[in-house]
Symmetry: C2
Subunit: 274 residues, 2 copies
């Protein structure tokens, strides 16, 4: 399955490990990066611990992705340790970055102007958000205070984004997606789904094998639905191509073939809208 | 943060990497394992690829957890590759397991008896679910066809569960939680949350530092809420202890202290019900 180039996602936060928070950031990023025509090969979640973060980054870099997208741990509190972890992985120190400091000041000044806060001082906890690994670059945060951060490690681009979803999404769409698009070239991801009732997954398994054998460019995955009296599953079809008309034709052909075969086995088929 | 013993979670499935499916299994397992008093130190997601699965298992085993809980990829279709990945990580082959085969047959016979399917044969795709890594043990699946699987690798227990949430949960609660409870001893996880409005996170940061300094047993984490006009966040308090009265007193004391300090800064505090 892995195609080059690929991307890894690293999510930082105890709240994800203890199940307090559902990892919607990883899902959003996975969908976005895939739709840009790139392959997400691994998602890792670690806690708010410098050694855990540094270890996960070093391991990811060893696997040779084009990008590691890191979310969480950029804020002002003691448990925001991502930049320390990245610095440790890079074997570098942290330094106050003038550009990042200006971004943070500007944001707080705007909060005062909008009367969201009464007054504002550049406290050590606010300056902390501008302490980047040596050689790193801040990325503007259009909706919050902590800037995103770009760094490089052995030819791998590290992208650090805040964990607050709105901030993560805004920085990604504004500044990171264009970087990913460059390495993706003109590849695009296409998908479609069918809802299938009345045929157990184990009966469909040889059907899927046969259709995939005839259609090597389309990946078919079956997703059994919640246990019901009648067997019920979703069939998901996907392909990546630089020719959208060809990709659609390929998926269309697979859907026609497999639908016929499912009906022969007494199943009911219905397209699922994206 | 890491306490011994710890657990790792490994989720297998392309649908998680492409963002088609939200990883609710990892959240459910994280919450369950944490509430058993154990530490989840890492969550990893890889695709339906034997080498990716085997690599992730070998890396997890190297980190020395007590358990690696693996979800997904146990079904009858070609893309269900978890057991092949585990066998590869263990350097063993796959063998047809008589006990697993009986579990699967029994399940299909019950489907026929309940008239959920018309007839049933033990096709190669159904037998596939009984092909376990040599030396592994099947675990009954009370709600679906694919059994869970237990294996051991260098003193680390590997637990393989289906990806369908109802099946994963049922096997975990029935057969896996009792195993985890044994290594957890009598430790339990306690938590509470406060909703805080009107104080920016960067203003609260030194308050949190000071309260944590006075209360080393309680971990405090701030979770900024969606960008609003008024600063808004959740403060989460947690501790692990074998003495529930002591744990509750510790968290109660922290909540009283920090609530006073937040009110002094003009903030509003409200408990959040679990």
């Amino acid at each position: 399955m892995p195609l080059d180039p690929f991307v890894e996602i690293l999510c930082v936060g105890n709240e994800l490990l203890i199940g307090k928070t559902l990892n919607t950031n990883a899902q959003w990023l996975g969908k976005r990066i895939t739709s840009l025509g790139l392959n997400v090969r691994r998602i890792t979640v670690v806690g708010d611990d410098i050694d855990e973060i540094a270890g996960a980054i070093r391991e990811a870099v060893q696997r040779g992705p084009s990008f590691v997208i890191v979310t969480g741990g950029l804020g002002p509190t003691f448990d925001d340790k991502t930049l320390e972890g990245v610095a440790s992985a890079l074997g570098r120190g942290l330094e106050e970055n003038g550009e990042a400091l200006e971004m943070i000041k500007e944001r707080y000044h705007s909060y005062v102007a909008e009367k969201r806060v009464e007054k504002f001082e550049m406290t050590p906890h606010r300056v902390k958000m501008a302490k980047l690994p040596e050689g790193a670059t801040p990325v503007p945060n259009p909706v919050g205070t902590a800037p995103g951060v770009l760094a490089e490690c052995e030819g791998v681009s590290l992208v650090m984004l805040p964990g607050v979803p709105q901030e993560m999404m805004a920085i990604f769409d504004e500044s990171i997606a264009p970087l990913l698009r460059k390495i993706a070239g003109d590849m695009t991801f296409f998908e479609a789904s069918l809802d299938v009732k009345g045929v157990p997954e184990s009966t469909l398994a040889p059907v899927i094998d046969s259709v995939m054998h005839d259609n090597p460019y389309v990946y078919i995955k079956s997703h059994p639905q919640a246990a019901e009296r009648v067997p019920h599953l979703e069939l998901h079809f996907s392909t990546t191509s630089n020719d959208s008309a060809l990709a659609r034709r390929r998926i269309g052909r697979v859907i026609i073939q497999i639908s016929e075969m499912i009906k022969e086995k007494g199943g009911k088929v219905r397209p699922i809208k994206a």
